[in-house]
């Protein structure tokens, strides 16, 4: 690591967010332009996908979001910065997770408004260079919003649906400098989990194996479509077993775009992170004709050398679209009395 203090980069992102949060659908384009690089590389979830520059991101993402979710409010739970392990600690990244809260007053991507509060789960990774946002990964959980709006498009999920709280310890908003040794310990705990030996999740000793790197009372705050699971035993039953059963034959890791840690927190984003072939049953779907990409964000909280909470964002709409199912298009048609 070349530098332990990310206060300058954090300040860039906080100023950016402050202005963004008070922007309107009309002004958001100019606000973005003031803070981002001219060739800003922005990568979002389906159906936003990859965009370049402030104008495109304003048109495609922020303006529709601000028009649909009135009085949009950012409610961060985790805010951290670090050097990117993936590129040999060259680039500076600032990550944030939490919810965008608003009044769901107008349709969004064909999802019907409710005139009520909705909380849109998000995770954002920003690369800062020369005082500007040069690169962004923005994950939002649209399926989770559909569920809140009573428009669930998929078969029943294995885990729990709930608006998910931030870290139990409430120490995720790291606006001040942190002890670098703590970040290293967190990164070590994440590495230990990733390298935890075993023949895959779906083995008899999985619970013991997982207990080496996870606390028994771990929480896997999963995306809508899978849901949240609490304790190692339920995590196995509600996420890792179904995942492993469906993907054991064909699951390819593609590496991460960014991986950082600060304080008790760390995580990574991959775009895509994996490519896998559903053999049937995963998320209540039939087997797939071919492998499909999975874009992924994982954020962890470490405690005493093990992981204890995990916030997970998966671009499930993209993963299903890669298998021939346009969830948003079909739901829009179904709600219009067609199909």
């Amino acid at each position: 690591m070349t530098r332990d203090d990310f206060q300058a980069e954090k300040a860039v992102v906080r100023r950016f967010h402050d202005e963004l949060d008070t922007a309107s659908a009309q002004t958001v384009g100019n606000v973005l332009a003031r803070h981002v690089a001219p060739d800003w590389r922005w990568r979002g979830v389906h159906p936003f996908d990859e965009l370049c520059g402030a104008a495109a991101v304003a048109d495609r993402f922020w303006r529709p979001l601000m028009s649909s979710l009135a009085r949009l409010q950012r409610r961060p739970d985790i805010f951290m910065a670090g050097l990117n392990e993936t590129d040999g600690f060259e680039s500076f990244w600032v990550a944030q997770t939490g919810h965008f809260m608003g009044l769901f007053d107008r349709p969004l991507l064909g999802i019907r408004p409710t005139a009520r509060i909705v909380m849109l789960r998000f995770a954002e990774f920003n690369r800062v260079e020369d005082g500007r946002i040069a690169e962004t990964l923005m994950f939002v959980d649209l399926l989770h919003l559909m569920m809140q709006a009573g428009q669930w498009p998929l078969p029943p999920q294995t885990g729990a649906h709930l608006v998910q709280p931030g870290p139990r310890t409430h120490d995720g908003l790291m606006y001040d400098p942190q002890d670098p040794a703590r970040a290293q310990a967190t990164q070590d705990a994440i590495h230990a989990m990733l390298k935890n030996p075993g023949r895959g999740f779906f083995v008899p000793d999985a619970a013991e194996r997982l207990a080496e790197v996870w606390h028994q009372d771990m929480i896997w705050w999963g995306p809508a479509g899978i849901g949240a699971a609490y304790t190692i035993e339920r995590y196995l039953r509600q996420h890792s077993d179904p995942f492993d059963k469906a993907f054991s034959k064909d699951c390819q890791s593609l590496g991460e775009t960014c991986s950082i840690a600060e304080g008790h927190y760390g995580g990574f984003a991959g775009y895509p992170s994996m490519r896998m072939h559903n053999a049937g049953g995963y998320m209540g779907m039939t087997g797939a004709a071919q492998p499909a990409d999975m874009r992924l964000v994982d954020i962890y909280r470490a405690q005493d050398g093990k992981l204890v909470e995990n916030w997970v964002f998966i671009d499930i709409l993209h993963h299903l679209a890669g298998q021939g199912l346009d969830v948003l298009g079909r739901m829009d048609a179904v709600h219009s009395g067609g199909g």
Binding site: P155, G280, T286, A288, R330, G337, G339
Partner: protein, 337 residues
């Protein structure tokens, strides 16, 4: 011979014997009415069975253990000669609901202690005073929905317990005018061979109007649902079907097709083999072609079709594509997956 009174009497007595039997006595109750090598075809997870003991063990005994005070409520009861084998086989068809108190789990579906109505349609071939061959279709996902355990993505059509024919003329216990049955069969065949382009042609509504009444009702299975009028039938069933299933579509023929009075229909095993190219039933594209077992029953009115009751073995169709719906739902409801 165009009188099917003895075949009808046999099937009615068979039904009576099932309804009044205890779960453990079902094989014995059925034995006098069926051939020892009785060939029984059911839906997933029952599939093909031989003889009364196997049918009782696999289908009727578990069903009657779970759905207490089981009551058959037929809406259509007809008999006829099978067009498919050159009008040789004599078939009796019963369609309606099996009603009961859902008092114990069935196939992993949680019981509700309340009324459930299981849609069914049964084709029976009678030979020498015995039932020798049966196709027994029932709508398991429809029961799951009634029990608040819908395993599917949202469906395009309506979910409701479906009434029988609007005219209440479907129960043909008495002999019928054969000319009427011939007209019904002709109307069904006209629909099956209705010339024209694909479903998504702009003139699809006019093409369908040649053989269907504009106020047609397509009483579809759970997972698709019911639709009313040609326009909504196109939007809620035939368009999604055509969009999702037009690639690699293969028609395998029917096993039996009969008509009597204003009613008629057919079944196949499996009628169709097709691959979901994505979106159909809210599912991702399928790994390959899968079989679709279907029963279609129709009501004929003045030369056109007015109502259509459809039974599709959707659980089998999905299972062939790697999705075991019943097992997954059972696991999900036990807190797993």
């Amino acid at each position: 011979m165009t009188d099917f009174q003895s075949e009808k009497a046999l099937v009615r007595a068979f039904h009576e014997a099932i309804e009044t039997a205890e779960p453990l006595g079902l094989a014995d109750a059925m034995a006098p009415f069926v051939a020892p090598e009785w060939h029984w075809r059911g839906m997933h997870p029952f599939h093909e069975q031989r003889g009364p003991e196997a049918v009782a063990r696999v289908f009727w005994a578990p069903l009657m253990t779970s759905l207490k005070r089981l009551q058959r409520r037929p809406d259509i009861f007809i008999a006829g000669l099978n067009e498919i084998d050159g009008f040789k086989g004599r078939w009796v068809v019963s369609m309606g609901h099996l009603m009961g108190l859902f008092d114990r789990p069935w196939l992993g579906i949680r019981h509700t202690l309340r009324i459930v109505m299981l849609r069914y349609c049964e084709f029976n071939r009678v030979e020498d005073g015995r039932i020798v061959e049966t196709a027994m279709f029932c709508d398991i996902p429809h029961l799951m929905m009634q029990a608040g355990q819908n395993p599917f993505p949202p469906q395009t059509g309506a979910m409701l317990v479906q009434p029988g024919p609007r005219t209440h003329t479907g129960i043909c216990y008495e002999p019928q005018d054969p000319a009427k049955g011939e007209a019904t069969l002709a109307a069904i065949n006209a629909m099956l061979s209705n010339p024209g382009g694909k479903f998504h042609n702009v003139d699809e509504a006019s093409r369908l109007a040649r053989v269907w009444h504009d106020n047609m009702i397509w009483w579809g299975p759970a997972g698709i649902g019911a639709s009313y009028t040609i326009e909504r039938y196109i939007r809620q069933h035939s368009t999604p079907f055509d969009k999702g299933l037009s690639v690699g579509y293969r028609f395998n023929g029917h096993v039996a097709k009969i008509a009597e009075s204003d009613f008629g229909g057919f079944f196949g095993w499996a009628n169709l083999t097709l691959r979901n190219s994505g979106g159909y039933l809210g599912m991702t594209a399928g790994p390959g072609p899968a079989d679709m077992r279907v029963i279609d029953m129709y009501r004929h009115e003045e030369g056109k079709l007015a109502e259509n009751w459809i039974f599709i073995d959707i659980l089998h169709y999905l299972n062939m594509q790697g999705l075991d719906v019943l097992a997954r739902m059972d696991a999900v409801q036990s807190g797993g997956g």
